[in-house]
């Protein structure tokens, strides 16, 4: 699990327990598949509060593997900083299934 950083933008991600889908925690405490809707924490305290909320949802069997991810902002559009998390947020970088075969 990623450690909270003192500086820099952070969001909380997890996988939905039922579907396994990658989700991000929104400001209203619900979970969204869109990183654009993620709550962004800009301080260590805010990040810890965000993660604490996510852990509570983990314990309530809503999500699994909650973790903080580093976010970069382009204008006001957030995107995960690292490739791994970008791929989690956006899906495989390669076409698959029938879309690839056609």
């Amino acid at each position: 699990m990623a450690k909270a950083q003192a500086t820099g933008a952070l969001a909380v991600t997890a996988n939905d327990l039922r579907s396994g889908t990658v989700v991000f925690r929104r400001p209203d405490g619900r979970w969204s598949e869109e990183v654009l809707e993620a709550e962004i924490a800009l301080t260590a305290e805010a990040a810890q509060a965000l993660l604490a909320g996510a852990r509570a949802d983990h314990d309530a069997c809503i999500v699994v593997e909650p973790a903080l991810v580093e976010i970069t902002m382009t204008g006001n559009r957030p995107a995960p900083r690292h490739l791994r998390e970008r791929i989690r947020a956006q899906g495989p970088t390669v076409a698959y299934g029938a879309a690839a075969a056609n």
Binding site: L17, S19, I87, P92, T93, Y96, A101
Partner: protein
Amino acid sequence: MYRYDEFDLGFVRERVAEFRDQVARRLSGEMTEDQFKPLRLMNGVYLQLHAYMLRVAIPYGVLSGRQMRKLAHIARKYDRDYGHFTTRQNLQFNWIKLADMPAILEELAEVEMHAIQTSGNCIRNVTADHFAGAAADETVDPRPYAEILRQWSSLHPEFSFLPRKFKLAVTGAAADRAAIQVHDIGLEAKRDAKGDIGFAVWVGGGQGRTPMIARKLRDFLPEADLLAYCEAILRVYNLEGRRDNKYKARIKILVHEKGTDEIADAIENEFASLKGKALDLPAAEIARIAAYFAPPALADLPARSAKLEAAKAADVALARFVDRNVSAHKRPGYGIVTVSLKPVGLPPGDATSAQMDAVAALAERFSADEIRVSHEQNLVLPHVRLDDLPELFAGLAAAGLATPNAGLVTDIIACPGLDYCSLANARSIPVAQRISERFADLGRQHDIGDLKIKISGCINACGHHHVGHIGILGVDRKGEEFYQITLGGSGDETCSIGEIVGPGFPADRIVDAVEQVVDAYLGLRRDPGETFLAAYRRVGLKPFQEALYADA
């Protein structure tokens, strides 16, 4: 083909019911993730980057049409319409919902399939030569022994919590298509001068972080002793294998640290106490299981098919396909067809539901209802009449499955890598796609000849890069994808581990680097008959280093 007996059937059904209950309790909150995770893993359910992944066991890579149709149906109904065939002859579904898992396992049980022992520190799905029972060069059909080992290792109570996972591979031909020397136990079934069956036993091979070639402990273990000897190996490993460090827990490390002689002695001692007792394989039981693998009714045919020869003369595409993708069958007039899952520019090993259905139909019609999954992530139709090849080729082409590249530079093994795998450091699939696009020209591929490129997205080496003629390992260098090249690896009977050629390459340079290696080979080979591997073994790393790092 082997069919479940009542014991298997009852057991698998019980297991499905048990897992259904566990999933329900997890979803309702009665069970925590910490409690549930080991249970889901025991049923082949992983959590990957994007979703849950279900790994379905395909024992020794053998499937019937009916089973393949079921996989297609599951892909269509519960996943995104495709599946991924792996280097362990299994199938992975990438987008499965946890809530659907019990229903899927139930559907699999209907066709005698399951996901048991596809994860965890137990004896995993036993793999075998994908040409088993068909290859012209085969001495002994390895499948009955793979099945005996499957039965022995399934839920073996003593070996359910080993220090680490444990993989067995079996072949029955001198040409090793099952990579037995890079398995925890590799077995080569063979015959002695009297015609009796026995096994060369290799122990302690493996890839991953510390690649090692197995040591041969027995050259001819009598057939009846197979289980007692394997049990002895597992006992020694279970007791003495390291449990303090995950990276040193495989049997290869034990063999390496203790030395081959000491381990061999320990195994022989254990074996002496087991031999001649309950684990002896009675000839009648071997015969009973072998009967399931009796060859299909094949016709007496001339070795040469005039029909095929005429069709080849009229169709260069067919001729190319036959040249690369059809291998010699033990019966005259038949061939073994490799169905390439490596069309240029597409993810290696993936098949859509429609393609799986197409293969099932073609297998039923042309290959005695048999399909194999190869560890090279292709499918195989093992018993095809040469006369039927033109029609089969047309059927495969209509499904996008007639790429004539078996064993060529574009027949690349690639693990799922960072596009799917939560352990990955770098992507594998896009590198494979770009290499296959670069070498798309068939004339050029044929000119290059036999060349195995294998790509892994991290040091776990699921893409077998250590035994690639050209191996590519993805690493993370300060947040950037980098790729390290190894040369001269081979997973066949001349097994060797590839050597690192030098500093790695960024993603935008790796395809050029592979091309430079291939061009260097073309420049230095003695004649077109000298394969990449043979040339490498003659000249070593240096000329390739000079080609790659000339400007450095």
